[in-house]
């Protein structure tokens, strides 16, 4: 049983490496801001040092800029031929200029700006994810603490977590009889598994040293929970939360395509039906950026909350 939990952690560990890889690429993007800010705040007297700093900044900024430029160029070239089906980057910008410069227009119904579409999707994700965090950590603590609960719930979790998010949609539509709660439920059920599993692994991995400290100090159940268990398991919990937010954002687009209404997923579906491919490309860029920022947000919160806990 224990090995099952650990194996699963490995599975999610593979998922956890993805954010780590994202972290390095973000660092590459985020770092140039810091040196330039520093050199702006206090101009260094030594021109040699300034030159070095500029070179370092260039070494960090240039690779992503160059690669992105090459990517856009290739894209433009491949789509500029006569019979090209997909729009190139310049075409996308021309077609969607109205959408880009007016993110907050509201002509009623589904015809609202991109910002409203994204906010509608984010709202659903916020509800579903918040529920998944509360329930996931709760169940994770239960499964991590009690061998009986783990043996009972583990088979259930193992089977349910492999169900694809959209497979839940029909059953939740039937249960809730409304589209919005169904979408929220899909987010919930998608995001909860990595949270449960990582939390329970975190609880099971609490060092015997800390348990002994708690026993010598005679901490009661509540004190143990708040002073030892939560902080000790926090790094694991946050890696679960981070995988969870990624999955939630992946699921929302697909779910919204089916339920309709305002939301970035249905915007994409609507644009497809109207053959507005440039709108779809713009939406994909926005989805990617929002997903990226959600991941960073959870990572930053996690880093702040778990500061110090990694060290022995």
């Amino acid at each position: 049983m224990m090995s099952a939990i650990l194996d699963r952690n490995m599975t999610f560990g593979a998922g956890r490496e993805r954010p780590a890889a994202a972290e390095t690429s973000t660092a590459a993007v985020a770092r140039p801001a810091a040196p330039s800010a520093r050199s702006g705040a206090a101009p260094p007297p030594d021109p040699g040092a300034w030159g070095r700093r500029m070179r370092n900044a260039a070494a960090v900024v240039l690779p992503p800029v160059i690669v992105t430029a090459i990517f856009l160029l290739l894209w433009e070239m491949m789509t500029s031929s006569q019979g090209a089906v997909l729009p190139g980057p310049s075409q996308v910008i021309t077609d969607t200029w109205e959408l880009i410069v007016n993110p907050f227009y509201d002509y009623g119904g589904n015809d609202v700006g991109m910002a409203w579409q994204l906010l509608a999707s984010l709202e659903r994700v916020a509800y579903g994810y918040a529920l998944a965090v509360v329930a996931g950590i709760g169940l994770g603590v239960l499964v991590g603490q009690s061998t009986w609960a783990m043996r009972g719930l583990d088979p259930l979790f193992q089977v349910l977590r492999t169900v694809p998010p959209l497979a839940w949609l029909p059953i939740s539509l039937a249960a809730f009889q409304a589209s919005n709660p169904s979408a929220i439920f899909v987010i919930f059920i998608t995001a909860i598994w990595p949270i449960i599993i990582n939390t329970s692994v975190g609880i099971r991995n609490i060092s015997q040293d800390y348990v002994n400290v708690a026993r010598v100090l005679r901490l009661n159940g509540f004190e143990y929970f708040t002073k030892i268990m939560l902080p000790a398991a926090a790094p694991y919990v946050f890696s679960g939360l981070r995988i969870g937010i990624g999955l939630a954002w992946l699921a929302i687009v697909a779910a919204e395509m089916l339920i309709g209404g305002v939301g970035i997923g249905f915007f994409i579906w609507d644009a497809w039906n109207a053959s507005m491919l440039s709108d779809i490309v713009l939406a994909l860029v926005y989805v990617g950026l929002v997903g990226f920022f959600l991941d960073r947000l959870v990572a930053i919160v996690g880093k702040w909350v778990t500061r110090g806990t990694q060290a022995g």
Binding site: D209, Y210, N212, V213, R215, R218, L219, G308, A311, G312
Partner: protein, 266 residues
């Protein structure tokens, strides 16, 4: 007969049936108030098991531990532990690590202000006043163990239990902390039970050295009384014939056991 801490004929067996292993056999030890006792022996001889039983972290199979007239079977604030790897909570500052123990122990008896003051006082005693708001990962190994000692002392235990407290430190830091422990123990008069595998440490600090035979089924081989006046000076001891005699005694015991580990089991 009525000693302060009595370890009464304890046996400890881990596991059951054919896989059971007898770790301790008939360990019997009586400690007076204010005594400093070291338990020394080869790795795996069960000396830490004795300490954990006194701490209440392990239960005896048979036998009992009696402290100040009361039997102890689970952990309590009257027996605080200094762990080998310091075991500070990494998410709390130095101050909060000690405060957790102080608040828990003196909730009903000291006011919040008194408890705060007591935390500062104990950290001052181990020379850690300069790092109150640092987290464990920001201070050195020796400093962590100072905080670990402060946390244990802050509970004002009847017995201070130390499980190879300096084992993970470099030689210089270790010597320094040993001196500190000697000073604090002479000031406060604590009763101390320390597990160690360092012969010099045992002879320098102890009133009596309990030498354990090799496991399985380890027991007390000999008890050596260290009749050297306190306070003891590390440098003076190096040339002290009596000190070197005690040192040789302990070494001889450990060496003989090492050569012939079966001698006691037979």
């Amino acid at each position: 007969m009525t000693s302060y801490l009595s370890i009464e004929h304890i046996h400890k067996t881990f596991g059951e049936g054919p896989t059971a292993s007898e770790v301790l056999r008939d360990v019997d030890l009586h400690v007076d108030r204010g005594e400093f006792i070291s338990i020394i022996g080869h790795s795996g001889c069960g000396k830490s098991t004795v300490l954990n039983i006194v701490a209440g972290l392990l239960e005896t199979s048979t036998g009992a531990v009696i402290l100040d007239g009361k039997e102890v079977s689970k952990p309590g604030p009257d027996r605080s532990v200094v762990f080998q790897n310091h075991s500070l909570l990494p998410w709390l500052t130095v101050r909060d690590n000690v405060a957790l123990a102080v608040d828990k122990t003196f909730k009903g008896t000291k006011s919040a202000a008194e408890r705060r003051e007591w935390v500062l006082q104990t950290l001052d005693m181990v020379g850690m006043s300069h790092a109150l708001d640092k987290r464990p990962d920001e201070i050195s190994g020796g400093m962590k163990q100072r905080v670990g000692i402060a946390r244990a002392l802050a509970m004002e235990p009847k017995v201070l239990l130390m499980d190879e407290p300096f084992g993970a430190l470099d030689a210089l830091t270790r010597a320094h902390l040993q001196d500190e422990v000697m000073r604090i123990q002479s000031e406060l008069g604590n009763t101390v039970l320390m597990v160690t595998h360092d012969v010099d440490e045992a002879v320098l600090l102890s009133d009596r050295i309990v030498m354990m035979t090799n496991g399985p089924a380890a027991t007390i081989g000999e008890i050596l009384e260290i009749d050297l006046p306190k306070p003891r000076e590390r440098l003076a001891m190096a040339d002290n014939a009596q000190y070197n005699h005690y040192r040789a005694e302990v070494l001889r015991f450990l060496h003989e056991r090492h050569k012939n580990p079966e001698s006691e089991a037979a």
